[in-house]
């Protein structure tokens, strides 16, 4: 691969184990601005665990994380957010009993000069961003448990996008969506990419990977099989990596 300057994110030699099982075993991945890197592999291959080290949910046992070339400590989700890393979790990580605005601003509420939460302002901001992401969204005053899968997804996406993320982690963002909503997410990814964000995309659908990703890193049993440039390989090659752990001849 040609040298493109400093990567936005480098995760070097990351290892983490749970009770003796190596969930992630010396894995190195990187991400450049304006790039979508797909993370692929079977369930349990270690993709989500790896990415949770970046989002602050887990702390790696060894290895280092660099943002714009500088080594950073990410000990909790707050640290990750301070580095402009936003995550859309597979489970969406929404508090079901709260409404969309409360979820969007959870942990980062808008407060007024007295330190009180400014509920109306937050709702107004939520209406603004939802008008952009999902114009049909109307249910602002109900708990998110009353929303459909797609609507919940758009709340989770809005939360990641609203705070000017530079690095976006999407863990199977289209798993619960219908075709129309999947299309909307695809368009959003293209748009964010054009804005210069770096996106880690965990995805099972090989067609989405071929369509959306610039590179793909494949994991198996906690180890990195390899990273390939998507336009230099076929979907057969990638499937071979996922299923057999076999690196194609023309690896990046």
């Amino acid at each position: 691969m040609t040298n493109r300057g400093t990567p936005l994110v480098e995760m070097r030699d990351i290892s983490i184990s749970f009770g003796g099982i190596k969930a992630v075993d010396h894995v190195t991945v990187d991400l450049y601005p304006g790039e979508v890197v797909g993370l692929l592999g079977h369930n349990g291959a270690g993709k989500s665990t790896l990415i949770k080290c970046l989002s602050g949910a887990y702390q790696p046992d060894s290895g280092e994380i660099r943002i714009n070339g500088e080594k950073v400590e990410i000990n909790n989700p707050r640290d990750a957010r301070a580095q402009n890393i936003e995550t859309i979790y597979q489970t969406l990580a929404l508090a079901d009993n709260l409404d969309a605005a409360s979820n969007l601003f959870l942990g980062r509420e808008i407060v007024n000069s007295l330190g009180f939460v400014d509920e109306t302002k937050m709702e107004a901001e939520t209406r603004k961003i939802m008008a952009r992401l999902n114009p049909n969204f109307r249910k602002f005053n109900v708990p998110v448990s009353a929303l459909s899968g797609g609507q919940r997804q758009s709340v989770a996406i809005a939360r990641a996008v609203y705070f000017n993320a530079k690095i976006l982690i999407m863990d199977e963002p289209t798993a619960a969506l219908g075709p129309h909503e999947t299309q909307m997410v695809s368009e959003l990814i293209q748009e964010l990419k054009a804005q210069g964000l770096g996106i880690f995309l965990i995805e099972h659908d090989i067609h989405n990977v071929m369509k959306l990703c610039d590179r793909a890193s494949v994991m198996k049993n906690g180890q990195l099989v390899g990273t390939v440039n998507v336009d230099e390989v076929t979907d057969e090659d990638i499937l071979g990596m996922i299923i057999l752990g076999k690196k194609p001849a023309k690896a990046a």
């Binding site: 989700p77 489970t91 929404l94 109306t120």
Partner: protein
């Protein structure tokens, strides 16, 4: 389906008058249900007294005033228990914290401080109250720390606390009863002198009504500022009048309860006068009731207007999501239990002041009434749902049942326990039915 014009929140616009009324006023139907149940209980006890005992004594200023005072300590703790239960925890130790704080406050103000400051020193009651709150907070913090950082279930930690603190309370004074407490401290428990009188009550009434009107106007202004749909004007009027009417009614009741003859005689004797023929001095709001009101308002602000309150609900709704949002859920647990402990300490102040003594049995079984009050008031044991006002109304319901049973002559304990136990189960069942129906 063709693209119809969207009206925000326009689902089910065809449902009749009641639905329209509820949506316009944005009143919580559960609140209406609880208040309705409360009135039914009150009327039931009064009617039973009128029919079978020849005299309905429940709906009298005297009983309602006493009811308000008796509700104070349970109500104060119930507001804290709401936070504990919302975050999917439980605190079984609050009754014992009342006991242990009450006992140490008793020792402090009766035996230790008078030796240091002199008997009747004006600072005694202040030091005692601050000490009681801090002691309660400390106990809560220790328990919260064990729950959060040692991952011991709150049920176990506070079950241990229930036994430990009751034991400590006994050992503190070797089982003695400490009395009488400092005279100023005793006022915090209510009683004829522990109330603010008619004039004070009218002032409180006026301030509270201004507050209600301000809330209505400010809410309207805020909605207009952000271009949200306004409530119909008649609904705003209704809410304002309802709030003010409630406050006015409560004030009329507490001002209709006069001092008893003995106290009147004492009072006029101290003035060096004879008791006038038409002597009528009203109690007015009792201090513990005002404390409960202030705690209720502060806790409501905490839960609805601050980040802290948001995080409490978020942790209850989805602890994992809360942690992933950068909320320090462990520190939150410690803070919540610390607050619960401090409120139990405050309840200890009121309970021991009301008794005018600190006894080893102070606050015995309070934990069950407090938990029951929160749950009857709509706090879900599954977490994530609950309101402060609900818990206070829940406390009022339970204390009404308790005192009502005494009033109609079933006060020996057994019937009372049966009725309260049944009411608890019934309330939770109704709540489950209600939640299913709105889904």
């Amino acid at each position: 389906m063709t693209d119809t014009t969207h009206q925000p929140q326009a689902q089910g616009k065809e449902d009749g008058l009641i639905g329209r009324f509820l949506r316009a006023t944005e009143l919580d139907p559960r609140l209406i249900g609880m208040v309705g149940a409360l009135f039914l209980i009150w009327i039931g006890f009064h009617a039973y007294g009128a029919l079978f005992l020849g005299e309905g004594s429940f709906l009298t200023p005297r009983n309602l005033w006493n009811l308000s005072v008796q509700t104070a300590s349970i109500g104060i703790m119930a507001t804290g228990m709401v936070l504990v239960i919302i975050t999917r925890n439980i605190d079984l130790s609050v009754g014992s914290i009342v006991g242990v704080t009450g006992m140490y406050m008793g020792l402090l103000q009766v035996e230790w401080l008078p030796q240091m400051l002199g008997l009747g020193h004006p600072a005694i009651w202040i030091i005692t109250v601050v000490f009681g709150l801090l002691l309660g907070a400390l106990i809560g913090a220790i328990q919260g720390g064990m729950i959060a950082y040692l991952s011991i279930p709150s049920f176990i930690v506070t079950l241990g606390g229930l036994l430990i603190w009751r034991g400590v309370a006994f050992l503190a004074a070797g089982g003695r009863t400490i009395s009488p407490v400092d005279p100023t401290f005793a006022l915090l428990g209510g009683g004829p002198y522990g109330a603010i009188g008619a004039m004070g009550s009218w002032i409180v009434c006026a301030i509270a009504c201004v507050g209600v009107i301000w809330l209505v106007l400010n809410g309207r202004k805020n909605r207009r500022l952000h271009g949200f749909a306004l409530r119909p004007v008649w609904a705003e009027w209704f809410m304002g009048l309802l709030g003010c009417g409630f406050i006015l009614g409560a004030t009329l009741v507490v001002n209709a309860y006069p001092w008893p003859k003995g106290i009147l005689q004492q009072y006029y004797q101290a003035l060096g006068q004879d008791v006038p023929e038409d002597a009528f001095i009203a109690h007015g709001y009792a201090y513990p009731v005002l404390i409960l009101a202030v705690v209720g308002i502060l806790m409501t602000i905490l839960m609805t207007r601050t980040r802290f309150g948001r995080y409490v609900f978020a942790i209850g709704g989805n602890p994992e999501a809360a942690a992933l949002s950068g909320i320090n859920t462990r520190a939150m647990t410690v803070k919540i239990f610390t607050l619960m402990g401090a409120l139990a300490g405050l309840a200890g102040v009121i309970a021991s002041a009301r008794l005018n003594s600190a006894t080893n049995a102070l606050g015995d079984l309070d934990e069950l009434y407090v938990i029951a009050a929160a749950v009857v008031g709509g706090t879900s044991l599954a977490g994530g749902v609950g309101t402060i006002y609900g818990a206070i109304i829940g406390a009022l319901v339970l204390v009404s049942l308790q005192t009502g049973m005494v009033l109609i002559g079933f006060g020996d304990g057994s019937y009372r326990k049966i009725v309260i136990g049944a009411a608890l189960v019934l309330a939770v069942w109704l709540d489950i039915v209600y939640r299913k129906r709105i889904k």
